[in-house]
């Protein structure tokens, strides 16, 4: 899970989930905690989906 997808592609990660921002990839300090956690849940759901999806090459789970 990373913000800078091109770097993850360059270094060879196979399942990539794009995140929010470099200093807070899984959160957003501008939002109240509940909304931030909702963002985190959505991103982690994507990560779990990525882990349960067969891939044959580098894949970005938008």
């Amino acid at each position: 899970m990373c913000t800078v997808v091109p770097i993850s592609l360059t270094v060879g990660a196979n399942r990539i989930v794009p995140t929010v921002a470099i200093p807070h990839p899984l959160g957003n300090p501008a939002l109240p905690l509940e909304e931030e956690q909702e963002i985190r849940r959505k991103l982690l759901d994507k990560a779990l989906k990525a882990l349960t999806t067969e891939v044959s090459e580098q894949t970005v789970f938008e």
Binding site: M1, P25, Q37, R41, L43, L51, T53
Partner: protein, 349 residues
């Protein structure tokens, strides 16, 4: 000037002990040269002499890495050498690893110059090219004569403490250290030559290789995520407050492993980031923004995932050498597999 005392390290095959069936041959030493040592000795002329040869089977060495290295080093140092030559190993992978390990250990622990020779695709090259000089050889023992021609004078130069030139002049495999030298042609003419080769689809060698990264085969999908043990790993530098392992803010020389048994939320008073590559304010206030322990605990409780692994691993990704990152990944991966972890979520900043 007295002749340099040289010890030669070779495997069971080149010592004519035997082939694969003798690969478990234990370390032994003999006086003087054995097998290919004869050619080296001749090439040294009156400048150096092989005083002893240390022989070890490739399987024995690689399967008993630590003890074999120790044994071989002991045998080598008993000859009180000024210089050690290992191999050349050509394209033999295990022999290459052994030669690289021996030469690197001799330099590191005995403080004696040591070199080896390998074919450029030998796996030993990537492992050791930064530690020792590896002379590039052909891919089979048929290249022995050519290898000796380059290795012997280079080894003498190293033993004499002379300045070592650029890889292309000396014949060693590029080790990432840039060394200036004068080419035969000026740069513009080299550029024209290179362009003509590139246009004709002929091989050419760039004078400065761009950084290059590995590719790995994707692993199969997790069949049932609700039964899976998931571990968190981050290059975002999340550490317990106070950074107990003193992980560096950039160019990290280590990674940390932290127990999160009973931890349900990373708070301002318990966790922080050691990372110097981004504004730490947000991660220091709530490290879940980088390492989502809070939500994964929730998922664990709800049965959405099997289990959150008891430990998380952390390092700082900025400025950290690719070689270091690779080494950390290998070590972490090994532990995770041993601990029965099914999947990893790696968060990076």
């Amino acid at each position: 000037m007295a002749k340099f005392r040289v010890v030669h390290y070779i495997n069971q095959f080149f010592a004519q002990v035997g082939g694969e069936e003798k690969a478990d041959h234990r370390p032994e030493s003999r006086e003087g040269f054995v097998g290919p040592g004869m050619a080296f000795n001749a090439a040294f002329g009156d400048k150096a002499e092989i005083v002893g040869t240390v022989i070890c089977g490739d399987s024995y060495f690689n399967e008993n890495l630590e003890t074999a290295t120790k044994e071989v080093l002991g045998l080598i140092s008993s000859f009180k050498p000024d210089l050690v030559i290992a191999g050349p190993a050509f394209n033999a992978g295990r022999y290459g690893m052994a030669c690289g390990t021996v030469a690197a250990a001799v330099e590191r622990e005995l403080d004696i110059p040591a070199i080896t020779g390998m074919y450029k695709e030998n796996p030993g090259v990537d492992s050791f090219k930064k530690d020792i000089y590896i002379i590039e050889t052909k891919n089979s023992a048929a290249g022995m004569r050519d290898a000796v021609k380059v290795m012997a004078p280079f080894a003498l130069k190293l033993a004499a403490g002379e300045e070592i030139g650029a890889s292309v002049e000396e014949g060693y495999i590029p080790n990432g250290i840039r060394v200036n030298f004068f080419e035969e042609k000026r740069g513009s003419e080299r550029a024209v030559d290179m362009l003509l080769a590139k246009l004709a689809g002929k091989p050419f060698t760039t004078e400065f290789p761009m950084p290059d990264f590995d590719r790995v085969e994707p692993k199969p999908a997790i069949v049932d995520i609700s039964k899976a043990t998931i571990a968190l790993v981050t290059s975002g530098g999340i550490v317990p407050k106070g950074n107990p392992d003193r992980i560096e803010s950039s160019s990290a020389s280590k990674y940390g492993k932290y127990d999160i048994e009973g931890v349900f939320d990373l708070t301002e008073s318990t966790y922080e980031t050691a990372h110097g590559g981004y504004d730490p304010v947000y991660a220091n206030l709530d490290a879940d923004r980088v390492l989502p322990v809070d939500i994964l605990r929730e998922y664990e409780k709800d049965g959405k995932i099997g289990k959150l692994h008891r430990y998380f691993y952390s390092t700082t990704g900025n400025g950290t050498a690719v070689a270091s990152a690779k080494a950390y990944a290998a070590a972490i991966g090994k532990e995770l597999v041993a601990d029965g972890v099914d999947a990893v979520i790696l968060t990076s900043t």
